[in-house]
Subunit: 224 residues, 2 copies
Amino acid sequence: MAVTQTFQRLKPPKREKILATAIHEFARHGFRQASLNRMARMSGIAKGSLFQYFGTKEGLFRFIFDHAVELIRHNLRRVKAETADQDFFERIRSSLLAGVAFIRQHPHIYQIYLKMLFQEDFPFREEFLEKIHLFSAEYLTPLVEKGMAEGDLRPDLDVDLVVFTLDAVMDRFLQAYCVPFLDGNAAVFQAPPQRVEKQVGDLVELLRSGLGARSGGTRLAMNE
Amino acid sequence: MAVTQTFQRLKPPKREKILATAIHEFARHGFRQASLNRMARMSGIAKGSLFQYFGTKEGLFRFIFDHAVELIRHNLRRVKAETADQDFFERIRSSLLAGVAFIRQHPHIYQIYLKMLFQEDFPFREEFLEKIHLFSAEYLTPLVEKGMAEGDLRPDLDVDLVVFTLDAVMDRFLQAYCVPFLDGNAAVFQAPPQRVEKQVGDLVELLRSGLGARSGGTRLAMNE
DNA sequence: GCCTAAAATGACCACCTGGTCATTATTGGG
DNA sequence: CCCAATAATGACCAGGTGGTCATTTTAGGC
């Protein structure tokens, strides 16, 4: 029992106000520090009703958590399908842009994700971390494997290491979009769409080409 | 007034036990959820003493925070000096290994860092985020610039973007070392020294060479 | 051994938390 | 219009919080 029929039978505006308030509260304060008193006050309902609907604080969080997981799963599937015909780097570019778009649309959900990452007293944290793992495993891994098979990627790459690196860079980009000072001097934080587009493009190019001086480029130097 | 002389005059074993307990508590529970009652009990002192020493919970945290900042600053300076004669990629490799070594030596400090990253109700969070920014600006940026000047890096790179990427990958590697499931299938989590060494080496090679198939390789394909 | 200044103590305070439940209000079928 | 089922309510509870402070203990110069 996570959520009662009573809640499902509520009129949509009320139901959604309660959910929005709860999501906002969890996003702002994390699980433990989120206050059901505040939620009740902000939703304009009695605290007792929250318990009637969701049983416990954890029940309410579970409901929101599952909702968010479904949202994300759906989004990933859509992006994967929509980009199926693109080459590897274009796909990464599209995926990252889709990530930014998702955050623009659901900023609080991403905030909850960030809070859960390192806060240990979240319920379902293990389940949550495993789902992140699944994102890498089910989304990026096949993408990389296809990229290698089609010659977009060097054939000698270690798939797991590539997935790890992509995950690192992409997630950090999204974090930098949401949290000030995480972007170094790259000005990613709350960047307008046009700038995001350029930054993502540059970032993907960097991943493609690497940092090292090209052997082709140094060959000239070796000739002098 | 952050810390009183009374605390500084304590006999070292007692002083350090109190500090170690506090660091442990903040690392485990974050700032808000950390309990002074627990700290007092675990340190074997009265709660009142904590307030005599540090004034407030925030004063105690400030003391630990400044201590940690000093530790990190010192460490960065040392690594920077020790690797001054290495080439760029070797320096990144050494820096990352030094990061892992630091975490092995001060796991709780890194845990506090992780908790502060996205938890908004930490005191000094802004100051803290600015200090992270400084890490990029003062540590990585000159390193990249020198690397470009000396021809280790491609000369056409955007310095800020490179710093951003390095920061992303390095920080995520350290996170994956500390938090399960953040490593995809790369098996970074609590990896033994030998494996860490190999993974760091591979990661740096990947950064150097990039993901893309070499233009020399695709040229053949274009001929067919 | 005494006396005073400094330090340690823990009972106590107001406040907030998640959760309960007897009471009240609402609803809809007959 | 009535009545029973369902839903909403908020006073109340035990427990935990950061913080206070009158009281006791300790330390060290004389």
